[in-house]
Symmetry: C2
Subunit: 448 residues, 2 copies
């Protein structure tokens, strides 16, 4: 009997899963339901089209609808799944009724947290998500003079940078003392804040959102710092897992609101898998569950979960979270966690840091790279890292996440060899200098 | 009694060593002898000034002579050391006579291999090394229409690219079938060769140098491929360790011609250390001795050896050789060794490779990145890697050298998380794809 897998959600997780099922079982019937008009575009690119770094939305499409047909993946567009029944092995689809499956994969993604203030029904509140809507919003942006971004979340940080780059007067409202406060340390974000100021951004930190004001259309944002007149608001509150279908069906939900999965991406219900932003995944060191990871994580989880749903056997392990993004005129990034998170979790650490450079200091285009490494006292095993610079942040973040995972110590990193070639790398790799400085500090303090 | 360290050589190794001695013992007397007019400049930058990527030679100076005086490092310029006497603990210095020391550090660098053909005494044969001479040669280059580069060594590769970039008709003569054949694989170099052709370079591979022709000044190079008329020849033959002083004093010399050192950078003579290009260092996996490493290696060896010479205790271990350089319109790099070297050494391997990209494929500035990984059959531990691309090659090479050193497997690399942010990294990291492809190939072949 042919195997049938139903997938709810057409984002990176859902499509990764579709490919995973087919990889494990090329004969499997794979049906994907999505509420949207499209699949296989990059939502992560939307802020950069708004910012005019990318010339048009068409570039964000990665595959045509025909390609999925050819691959044997049956995508039902603009179709909502309203319920799942793991016991009966069916999903309820609007307009299709009950549809049966052999295995089910939930890839229902995330929602933005409700800002929970009055005025949420006004026009010109922009929640960045769907590419078709983004195309319409992009036309609106042509006539926007002043915009307010709510929260310096990862998306809020990108949108602030993009709107300022586009020439819109941009205000950023955030309740924390510095941007991206939940993941990045203030010393890492300080250059970003400076560059935003240079770009004309008006940042309002330690500032609480009180409401959206206006008649029909938003005309101002009310905050603890006063009213900010504006033509448009980008609501970039933090992501919360969209786990409604799972919760309604009695699947186990974790402390973050994400669906609990095991290393096979299997939920608590037999035959039901979940991947991407609707799940929560433990941090590799702390085992604290995390949600709101990246499209790259969603895609990898999709491949693993899809493979298992198709009869294969793949695991997806706890995460060490390399991250990075442009912010203002800088690129920030890191792996695992920084000082702020470590302190909040009560995790002791020692620091090694360095202000390095990306090329020989005389080579055109050389940029600063600040590296901060956190290690466990005593063992000096790396437990986290944060960086601010321009070149090579992504590649260093990828490496440092592996360094955390495999327990590299300050000694290991201080003894690391590095490429030296004036146009592409400095005599001293900043990671090596940071680890060396960390050891020197410990020596001076008599702790080594 | 105050401690006195004599250092012979003022390059990256010698100056790293001077700093190392002072770090271990700030009171130590440190005397550096150099044959040249300067120290503390970057010889690695010279090709890029010739190529006009860097505007002038002054930029290559990293520190002033006064800074060394202030740091308590006594540099004797244009001063030749003619002999060392490890038993008597003296060196013989031209114009100074016998000078005593407590510890001695040899940092005598390298020479270019003698091309061993007639005509070596003609004018306009340029050996790239000393910055003052480079300044003079740069003026000569203004009137050069056609140049020949002898050997596609690392320097030859850089000089070929730079001279072509400067607009000089450049011929490259090399006895091997492809450039950098001693370190890089032909598939990695193929795009470089193509881009050289686009830049107007005339490459002569499988071509033996027979002599330099001309009256007083070189006017042609004689090769197995015929005569190549030219105004100037860059002799970029491979580096050989300059170990004459050490050999004359009976210190142990290795199979490469480099001074043999232990992990403290100590030679076979008590109290005598050696660092940088005059030494040989074992490869971490094969234990085959290597010479001709980079300025970054020399500097790190200098710091370790200097520290030990000053009474401290530091080790410098076997190397895994991350490398990288611009070449033509590309950047090439890798870690440990490639297929060519593995085959030559009789080391069995399996391959995983991928043609990836450096950013989201729709993001402006996205570049291809080809990654090839070599692993030990069975264990699938990484033993080498080679890459050709543009962005992030240096950082990936640094990481991959650590991956070889710490025995990461294809499984580890295939499960690696990666940053995804359109402007700085693609959904799928090319290293991850290469490892995944390697595993897929093995599965298909029934070997996994």
């Amino acid at each position: 009997m042919p195997h049938k897998t139903v997938i709810v959600g057409g984002g990176a997780g859902g499509l990764g899963a579709a490919g995973g099922v087919k990889a494990a079982n090329p004969e499997a019937e794979v049906v994907v339901y999505t509420e949207f008009e499209d699949v296989a575009y990059s939502p992560c690119g939307i802020p950069y089209v708004h910012g005019k770094e990318i010339s048009d939305f068409e570039k964000l499409f990665l595959a045509t609808k025909e390609q999925y047909v050819k691959a044997g993946i049956d995508v039902h567009y603009e179709t909502t799944v309203t319920a799942i029944d793991p016991k009966g092995k069916t999903v309820t689809v609007e307009g299709e009724g009950r549809v049966s499956y052999d295995t089910l994969i939930l890839a229902t993604g995330f929602d933005y947290a409700d800002p929970g203030v009055p005025g949420g029904d006004l026009e010109n509140l922009y929640y960045v998500k769907n590419i078709r809507k983004a195309m319409e919003w992009d036309k609106v942006l042509d006539s926007v003079k002043t915009a307010v971004v709510i929260e310096a979340s990862p998306l809020g940080t990108e949108m602030t940078t993009s709107l300022a780059h586009r020439g819109i007067e941009t205000h950023l409202v955030d309740p924390n003392p510095w941007p991206l406060a939940e993941m990045a340390d203030p010393d890492i974000m300080a250059p970003v804040e400076e560059s935003w100021t240079e770009m004309g951004v008006k940042a309002h930190f330690n500032t609480t959102l009180k409401g959206f004001l206006g008649q029909g259309k938003v005309s101002a944002v009310d905050t603890s710092d006063g009213e900010i007149p504006c033509d448009l608001v980008v609501v970039a509150t933090h992501k919360v897992p969209n786990a409604r279908l799972a919760a309604d069906a009695g699947l186990k939900i974790g402390s973050t609101g994400g669906i609990i999965v095991d290393e096979r991406m299997a939920t608590s219900a037999p035959g039901v898998f979940a991947v991407g932003d609707c799940t929560e995944i433990p941090h590799g060191l702390t085992r604290v569950p995390l949600q709101g990871l990246t499209g790259s994580h969603a895609y990898a989880q999709g491949k693993a979960g899809g493979n298992n749903a198709g009869g294969g056997s793949r695991t997806y392990k706890a995460v060490y979270v390399p991250w990075g993004t442009p912010a203002g005129k800088w690129v920030i990034g890191g792996a695992s966690f920084g000082e702020t998170t470590a302190t909040a979790l009560g995790i002791p650490y020692v620091v090694g840091q360095a202000q390095g450079i990306s090329r020989a200091r005389y080579y055109p285009g050389v940029k600063p790279v600040k590296v901060k490494l956190l290690a466990e006292p005593g063992s000096l095993r790396l437990i986290g890292a944060q960086m601010v610079g321009q070149e090579g942040i992504k590649e260093r973040a990828d490496f440092l996440a592996m360094a955390v995972k495999f327990g590299f110590t300050f000694h290991d990193l201080a003894a690391m060899e590095n490429v030296y070639s004036p146009a592409i790398g400095a005599l001293n790799e900043p990671i090596v200098v940071a680890a060396t400085n960390g050891l020197d500090e410990l020596r001076k303090a008599g702790k080594l």
